[in-house]
Symmetry: C2
Subunit: 335 residues, 2 copies
């Protein structure tokens, strides 16, 4: 908790996704001093992307009137299966990456120690260290944005499983669509190829897809006034529409919240965590609209006994969870 900012005490957190790179410079007590953001441009290949990450780090450092020589280490979260020990991104489908030695390459560019984790694990680490003061032994962080993923804390430690792919909660199936029915069901197909995954029912992508389909069927929404092309809209546009009385958006967002609640209950029944934290862009923008429904549905579906004393809450870190977790990773790694 020392406020004294020794000149080698600064830490970098990098939240690195398929569309954007977001970096932050932190003190050892996890105060963020400055940030920078660039687009990923994954199609240019791994070497170019790693250069962009390095540039974004330098920008954030410069923004704080610091030099990279004052940085102790950097922690970076990557979307996909990550071997934290070797710092290799084993498999990153959104990036088109396979076995990229991110730690080694980024260290060449930055000249400081780099530590790599899965992006959702890293965000959960940020939430755990900076937000969960009671340090629960078992906790689940679910992040709802373009996709849906989670970070798991088990016995006080990040859990990543056998192939470093644990926490893919966006791909639990909630509507398998297999029940015999006289009419074909309207079960959405997920990006992963399966029918009825949580991500296909409740991510930002899914919410906009369902609104788009309803508009196609003749239903009305003021979102069409905000932009011709829904691809240009963000979660905060959904909030704006709901607060202005848009019934369609209200309904679709509530249905998404119910699905998230059912998924949270399924995960509570399997993992019985002490704390469930919801984060990501959708929750950040729509916390007031979604959290009551998520919590109520989760408690309704959880097994008796399982929910006793369990907290379900939205993260206060919002979009900063990832970079904060990166700083924690760097802090732990350089200790």
């Amino acid at each position: 908790m020392a406020d004294r900012a020794d000149h080698r005490d600064y830490l970098i957190g990098v939240d690195f996704g398929g569309t954007k790179i977001y970096t932050g410079v932190f003190t050892a007590n996890l105060t963020c001093l400055g940030r920078a953001r660039v687009s990923t441009k994954a199609s240019r290949g791994a070497a170019a992307v790693i250069e962009r990450i390095a540039r974004c780090v330098h920008e954030a450092v410069d923004e704080c009137d610091l030099k990279i020589s004052q940085v102790k280490g950097a922690g970076i979260g990557a979307p996909g299966a990550v071997d934290a020990e070797s710092g290799v991104v084993i498999f990153g489908p959104n990036l088109g990456w396979e076995n990229v030695p991110l730690k080694k390459e980024l260290e060449k560019h930055l000249g400081v120690p780099v530590f790599v984790e899965n992006d959702c694990n890293m965000a959960m680490l940020g939430v755990y260290e900076a937000e969960l003061e009671a340090k629960p032994r078992h906790a689940l962080g679910m992040f709802v944005g373009t996709g849906i993923g989670a970070g798991l804390i088990i016995n006080g430690e990040l859990y990543s499983g056998f192939n470093h792919t644990a926490g893919e909660v966006g791909h639990i199936v909630l509507e398998s669509g297999r029940l015999p029915s006289p009419t074909p069901l309207n079960v959405p197909r997920c990006g992963c190829g399966n029918l009825g995954c949580l991500e296909a029912l409740a991510s930002r992508t899914a919410i906009f897809n369902r609104i788009r389909a309803a508009v196609h069927e003749g239903q009305q929404t003021m979102l069409t006034l905000f932009a011709k092309d829904f691809d240009k809209l963000r979660s905060k546009d959904l909030r704006k529409a709901i607060r202005r009385g848009d019934k369609l958006v209200q309904k679709v967002v509530q249905e998404a919240a119910q699905y998230i609640g059912i998924a949270v209950a399924s995960l509570m029944n399997v993992l019985n965590p002490e704390v469930v934290v919801l984060g990501g862009g959708v929750i950040e923008a729509l916390e007031e609209e979604m959290m009551p429904t998520i919590t109520e549905t989760a408690l309704d579906y959880a097994m008796p006994g399982t929910a006793k004393g369990v907290q379900i809450r939205a993260s206060k870190l919002a979009d900063e969870a990832g970079i904060t977790g990166g700083a924690v990773l760097a802090l732990r790694g350089t200790k």
Copy 2:
């Protein structure tokens, strides 16, 4: 691995469910010497049930021409939330139990140290010690019988969660039935009150319910020749019917196997275990009929990368998993 059977070396395993109590006497190398079985009669209350457990233990010991004084300890699995440290059954809905000090009470009857666990955890412990020679760090055991539950091994240890209720995989939702549809869906309600839980779609109870409903709708099955009342039938009757060409039973059992496969994939996506073991009465009786479908569906639904090198297999211990796990529990506890 000592074959020398010292006179205090025997161990007792007790598999204790809502309908039956099953006990086994084991050597220290987990060879079962004898077994006994009685009905639970849960309605008589906890004190009477604990007496029946003690009687069943004495019967198994007598069956082996041994005396209880030659027993080192007993391990017992109970259906519900169990505090393994205190040996208290916190919550056992199928028994009508709340906060029953099973360890303390059973020790009074037996005069040997007693160790208590959740029944599925105990069965998984039996599988882990007696069957999984490679000792995977992370493993999932799913047990399919009247209900569906699981035991989780994480970092080489049983995992039971915050309220000791982890592993309730029977209550993950696979058919939430919430999608808008022109006709009401035929989604079955689970004993827990929710719609579309795995247990309501693929347990023995669910399989017989679906066959019963089909017969009610006029479909034919030879099961009606085996018994007027389906409640008298067991999983092996399903196998018999399938092997004699019963199309309805074949179809319903295959659908149950698909649901189990989807659930296994959802759990693989969340937990990324190295080994998934399927056990319980339904799998024991219908291994040949169900395992190919379960495995194929699970691999189809698992995320890329998650299934790499992961084993999905039926337990060889079958109905002995629970009592074997009890012996392991007793062995560990008395070390």
